[in-house]
């Protein structure tokens, strides 16, 4: 049905007045504020021989009255979503794997912002009156579900989301928070996420995203964070800033040469972009304002080298890549940014920047890192390491325990040095529990340094909204104040396991039920990188994001609670057995009612009348035994010899044969 247009169009009317209007704006570049797009990639070797790759894409739509209708770079779908659902702030993350806080760090901006709980996490702040928030949330989840090919629409049900007040995030307005711990994340979620980028994965940094290599990593988290600034004049629609990040932790398949030659496994594996992704960067996405690759290295690496080798580099930046130190970069960086060393803080680092626009197809960017000496360092840790586990056994009750362990005594004291004597460590705990885990909040116990302590001593503020069956989940927000020298602290909460209705069970009910991660944040600690301010830093959204003050936050493990699962054919079994019992009862009742006792006794006395069937049977039996048929004047209780010893033996023999046959034939 494709119909070509056949003739010239003669819409002369257009050639009159509006042309003058249009001509005024015919400059080569659109004036005024424009939509922007930035792409950046941060690479960071991790202490446990893995590599972190953090892609950061930033799209900005300035406030204008055509937002949601006319766009040049910014994804139309997101803009319309924001307009339609009045979203002020929203974060959606798809994660597979668990961020290893102990090894990969728990204090830096990446781990606080981009380490996410497994599955899907969504929270949104709406710019609507409080009574409409739930309706907007439901519509938003359904839209996102369609947009990202995920079952985010399950968050629609009021049993799946909650409204944290202060512990998760301090935002004015109405926040809703929901997680789907069991959502499987795969390419079908990545493709729509990439579709929001102007170059998708056709060009620029996103072209590195080779699906097999990123999905075989240890951790994979794709995230979408948007804010719309509402503080604009009424006639223009608010501007939107969309931040898309993809954080992957990959194991560089260590080239066999290095490990064999060195003969020891202490060497950090050398890697390059092409070895970890299988691709190279062949130029930037032309639409992007900036396209930079950063390599982040901990400063402690240098200091160790200084110890190891005598010719310690004075200027780390210039010497680091020059070959004098323990590693070698395959390319010269275009910019070196050092983290400002305020204190003797351990985790300061150096960033090497590479401009992607200098590279093209014939000369692709393939950044590589080669270690010369074995290097050890450790990532910076959050003051407390939180983990969560289940206690108790059986299908009836149990307990949730959240355990905080001090990561390093020296570290924890340094973090709160400013507080002098009554030094205390503030910890926010936000925990959502599904309604079928019936938590008894009064059973909250706290153990500090393995001793049970009264709750009032440590719990500074607590807010609990108990779950309502099939209506809302239970939510607990808690502000703990622990002494700085605490070694460990534990919270326990007892719960009963509820029963679900038969059709509320998920398809794989025997797998167990997930309790979403608890969010542990440290309001006094902020993950900030103090970079020496520079023009290039101000332009880079990734670095400016690193310089923002965000509180240190971590997620605990997802818990798997086994619930009693019924036999799902049970309804039919129950129906069948009750019906059979009823039928038996009914039949016998009916027979009893119409039984004639007197008459039967009379017949019994008469005795000789036998049914033809019985006569036939006795004759057959007689033949079977080889005896002459007995006369029918025998008493009617002739069935007694019927169960003779021989017969029983024969039956048993046959049964044994059958069982043996059955057993051996299979």
């Amino acid at each position: 049905m494709w119909l070509p247009l056949r003739l010239t169009l003669l819409f002369l009317f257009l050639l009159l007045s509006p042309r003058a209007l249009l001509r005024s704006g015919s400059a080569a570049v659109v004036s005024g504020e424009e939509e922007e797009f930035h792409e950046e990639l941060l690479l960071k070797p991790l202490p446990d021989r893995k590599v972190l790759a953090h892609f950061h894409f930033h799209s900005i739509a300035p406030p204008s009255k055509s937002n949601g209708r006319h766009h040049h770079l910014f994804p139309k779908a997101i803009s319309q979503l924001v307009q339609k659902f009045r979203v002020k702030e929203m974060e959606l993350s798809f994660t597979q794997g668990r961020w290893n806080y102990e090894r990969w760090g728990g204090f830096d901006p990446i781990s606080s912002n981009n380490a996410k709980p497994p599955g899907v996490e969504l929270w949104a702040v709406f710019d609507v009156p409080e009574d409409q928030v739930d309706a907007y949330w439901k519509n938003l989840t359904n839209s996102l579900s369609g947009l990202f090919c995920a079952s985010i629409n399950f968050l629609e049900s009021s049993t799946m989301y909650s409204a944290p007040k202060w512990s998760f995030r301090i935002t004015p307005g109405s926040l809703r928070y929901g997680t789907l711990p069991r959502e499987a994340v795969c390419t079908e979620n990545l493709t729509p996420w990439l579709k929001l980028l102007p170059c998708r994965d056709k060009a620029g940094l996103a072209a590195l995203l080779d699906r097999p290599s990123i999905y075989k990593g240890f951790y994979h988290s794709q995230r979408l964070y948007l804010t719309s600034n509402a503080s604009v004049p009424a006639e223009t629609v608010s501007g939107i800033s969309l931040e898309q990040t993809l954080t992957v932790v990959l194991q560089p398949n260590s080239p066999s040469s290095s490990s064999i030659h060195s003969g020891e496994s202490n060497f950090q594996p050398s890697w390059s972009l092409s070895s970890i992704f299988g691709r190279k960067i062949s130029g930037k996405c032309v639409i992007a304002q900036s396209s930079i690759v950063y390599l982040q290295l901990e400063k402690s690496i240098f200091s160790e080298q200084k110890d190891n080798m005598d010719n310690g580099p004075n200027s780390l930046a210039s010497e680091g890549f020059a070959g004098g130190s323990g590693f070698e970069m395959s390319l010269d960086p275009d910019i070196v940014i050092e983290e400002e060393n305020q204190s003797q803080h351990k985790g300061s680092s150096v960033l090497y920047g590479f401009w992607v626009e200098k590279y093209n197809e014939s000369q692709p960017l393939d950044l590589g890192l080669k270690w010369k000496y074995p290097v050890f360092w450790s990532s910076q840790q959050a003051p407390l390491h939180a983990s969560r586990f289940l206690m108790g056994s059986g299908n009836e009750r149990g307990a949730i325990a959240i355990l905080f362990k001090s990561t390093n005594s020296a570290d924890s004291s340094s973090g709160s040095r400013h507080v002098s004597d009554g030094c205390e460590l503030q910890v926010d705990v936000f925990q959502v529990v599904p309604w079928y885990i019936k938590v008894y909040y009064h059973s909250l116990q706290i153990f500090v340094d393995d001793e049970a302590k009264p709750i009032g001593d440590f719990v500074h503020k607590i807010q609990v909204s108990p779950s309502k069956d099939k209506t809302s989940p239970g939510m607990m927000e808690m502000l703990l104040k622990l002494p700085c020298d605490v070694r460990s602290a534990a919270l326990t909460l007892e719960f009963d396991k509820g029963f679900l209705h038969i059709d509320e069970y998920p398809p794989d009910a025997n797998q167990g039920y997930d309790i979403p991660s608890a969010v542990i944040s440290f309001p006094r600690f902020h993950s900030v990188m103090h970079l020496l301010s520079n023009d290039s830093i101000r332009k880079s959204p990734l670095l400016s994001r690193f310089q923002e003050k965000n509180r240190v936050q971590s997620y605990t493990e997802v818990l798997l609670v086994p619930l009693t699962t019924p036999d799902f054919s049970m309804p039919y079994n129950v129906i069948t057995i009750t019906c059979t019992v009823f039928a038996l009862f009914f039949g016998s009742l009916l027979n009893v009612l119409r039984r004639r006792v007197g008459e039967e006794e009379r017949y019994l006395k008469a005795g000789k009348k036998k049914g033809w069937l019985r006569v036939l049977l006795s004759r057959l039996l007689a033949k079977f035994r080889g005896k002459p048929m007995e006369e029918p004047d025998q008493p009617s209780s002739e069935s007694a010899p019927l169960i003779g010893k021989k017969l029983v033996l024969k039956v048993i023999l046959v049964a044994v044969l059958a069982v043996a046959w059955q057993f051996y034939s299979t």
């Binding site: 049905m1 139309k76 979503l81 039919y572 009823f582 039949g587 119409r594 004639r596 009348k609």
Partner: protein
């Protein structure tokens, strides 16, 4: 127990040959007794157990309807008869609106061309021409006037007498609405736009007699020197034919054609999109989504200032189309979006060529993520308009028509989907500077040309002509384009078709719903569906009545409502979800109880009845013996 009872009762049973032989043998043993207990009894058989078993059986039978009632699923009563009738009626006789025409003969009596023109005669001959045209071409076209039209004829001789013939008023009288004699003075026949305006002010269309929808054709004698008569159709509801030395009789054919082909039928040609494909959503909303696709931004990439285009040029069009659809506009620019068909270099034409055969592969649904709009509701129609900027390696890219020439618009449409247009930069020289190419803004003149093409595509999608010449059987007509994109008479045609299409669609939807519901007896029909069907039928009825009176807008509104309600009912989420609860399921749940119990009850009843008959016979035999003995 049952067996004992059976053996007791089957003594006289035809089955028991043994029993029969025994009864022959036994009388000798029991002869001394008076009463043989096998064949006779002295007391009347008791009715207790018979009564008991039968009452149980009866209560079961009586309980059955109640059980059936509880098992039964709820089905809201749907007016199946009305639904089928509506769909049948719409199928068989498409909706026809009344149309009112008027023809004015101006300056005709000044010359004697075969005597004074008689309006009655003229009317008769025009009508016969029109009937001929309607019967031969418009076999039941949806939304046309069919044979349902009126015509009035005015002969204005300028300074002389003015005669009028009208169906209702007969000869001589002047109805409110028609042409006022002498209203048209001297016309400057050189300037088409000026005539259009003059006619518009003369033919006062604000009158309410025909709902303001009176189509007029004016035949003016005079004006331009001689290349024969010139026929034009204005932006409003009139057209005119001018020429020197016009023969009134000869003009009749053209006039009839103008009425029928242009005003009634929208000047569409055969092979244009059929009227049923009206790209308007069920909720009466349309989203026009404009996308600029840069096939390879590494060569060059263009941006456009669509906001300005929207404000200045698109807005009037959207305003004009408001009676038909509620239109919203959005635009985006996409990158790295190659087409999926191949093109080849043609030396003689000096450009890369894609032919009409490849068009179905041109749209690359993998890479062109022309998203459906989040802003649009579920039933909003989205029309995609795509401007494709080819990459440098296929740069002058042209569409070759089957005739071998290059398409001038370089675009094509796909009905109900939208249109595609290829635009390439003037010089196809690849950017070769250092660093990545800069963003280029499309020149306003280019934007204008693109917009013209896209508007033409929009018109085509609505089934209208994209050029301004209509060639009929009797001659060519020039159609004056409106600055709004759609002229008033075109909008009338569209709204008639829209109404008709909506009614048609609601009729077929309701018809299939009725068939579906009747074919699935175990489907739950909620009250809401019943209500929607009822309201939809009412709205359809209203639309039909309004249409027959000639109220275009009102009938369009209610027809839209009818369609949207019918689709609501058909796509109600409850319909598909519960039709799963089958009769077999019901059987599986209830049979474990009812099968054994009913066996017991029936058997008991049968046995008791048989026994009772048997005992009764015995008693009767004794009675007879007693009587004999007596």
């Amino acid at each position: 127990m049952a067996e004992i009872a059976e053996s007791a009762s089957t003594t006289e049973h035809p089955l028991g040959t043994v029993g029969a032989s025994r009864s022959k043998a036994s009388p000798s043993a029991l002869r001394e007794s008076d009463v043989d207990p096998k064949t006779m009894r002295t007391t009347t058989p008791g009715l207790k157990r018979v009564f008991l078993t039968f009452s149980v059986l009866l209560s079961f039978l009586l309980g059955f309807p109640f059980l059936w009632k509880t098992v039964e699923i709820y089905r809201s009563p749907l007016p199946f008869g009305d639904m089928d009738a509506l769909s049948k009626q719409i199928e068989s006789s498409p909706l026809q609106f009344p149309c009112h025409f008027q023809s004015v003969f101006l300056n005709f009596d000044s010359r004697s061309s075969g005597g004074i023109l008689d309006p009655r005669e003229l009317r008769r001959s025009i009508l016969s021409e029109m009937t001929k045209l309607t019967s031969q071409t418009l076999e039941r076209q949806c939304g046309s006037c069919g044979g349902n039209f009126t015509l009035s004829v005015v002969v204005d001789s300028g300074d002389g007498p003015c005669r009028l013939f009208d169906e209702r008023h007969g000869n001589g009288l002047t109805p409110n609405c028609s042409y006022k004699c002498g209203a048209l003075g001297a016309l400057n026949l050189g300037d088409d736009e000026a005539i259009d305006e003059a006619l518009r002010s003369a033919l006062d269309e604000s009158c309410s007699d025909y709902g303001g929808k009176l189509y007029t054709v004016v035949v003016v004698d005079g004006g331009g020197a001689g290349e024969g008569p010139k026929a034009l159709v204005g932006k409003h509801r009139h057209g005119w034919i001018s020429g020197r030395e016009l023969d009134a009789e000869a003009m009749i054919g053209r006039m009839a054609e103008m009425f029928v082909k242009v005003f009634m039928n929208g000047a569409r040609e055969d092979g244009a999109i059929h009227g049923e494909f009206m790209p308007v959503g069920a909720d009466g909303r349309v989203v026009l989504s404009f996308s600029l696709l840069n096939a390879n931004p590494d060569d060059w990439f263009y941006d456009w200032d669509f906001q300005r285009l929207d404000d200045t040029l698109l807005n009037p069009v959207i305003e004009a189309l408001k009676p038909i659809a509620n239109i919203s506009v959005e635009s985006q620019v996409l990158y790295h979006t190659p087409k999926s068909s191949f093109s080849y270099w043609d030396e003689s034409l000096g450009s890369y060529i894609f032919s009409t055969k490849d068009l179905s592969f041109f749209v690359n649904s993998n890479e062109w993520h022309l998203d459906t709009s989040v802003a649009a509701g579920g039933r909003t129609k989205i029309l995609q308009f795509v401007v494709y900027v080819p990459s440098a390696k296929e740069c002058p890219l042209s569409l070759q028509l089957p005739s071998g020439e290059i398409s001038k618009t370089n675009g094509f449409i796909s009905p109900m989907w939208g249109g595609v247009m290829v635009w390439h930069p003037q010089s196809c020289i690849k950017y070769s500077g250092s660093g990545p190419p800069a963003r280029l803004l499309m020149h306003p003149d280019d934007l204008h040309r693109i917009f013209e093409v896209l508007m033409g595509q929009l018109r085509q999608l609505f089934g209208l002509k994209s050029n301004s010449i209509y060639v009929g059987a009797a001659g060519a007509y020039k159609l004056l384009p409106s600055e709004k994109g759609f002229t008033e008479w075109e909008l009338d045609v569209l709204s008639r078709q829209h109404t008709c299409f909506n009614l048609h669609s609601s009729g077929t939807t309701l018809g299939s719903l009725s068939r579906l519901v009747q074919s699935l007896p175990r489907m739950i029909i909620k009250d809401e569906i019943g209500k929607q069907v009822k309201f939809s039928l009412e709205a359809a009825q209203l639309a039909q009545t309004n249409a027959s009176v000639g109220l275009y807008e009102a009938s369009a509104a209610s027809s839209r409502q009818a369609r949207s309600l019918a689709e609501d009912a058909f796509f109600h989420p409850s319909i598909m979800s519960v039709s799963y609860f089958s009769f077999e399921h019901c059987f599986a749940v209830y049979s474990p109880f009812f099968l054994p119990v009913s066996l017991h009850v029936l058997l008991a009843a049968v046995r008791e009845w048989r026994r009772y008959k048997h005992e009764k016979a015995k008693y009767v035999r004794w009675k007879v013996k007693q009587v004999k003995a007596a």
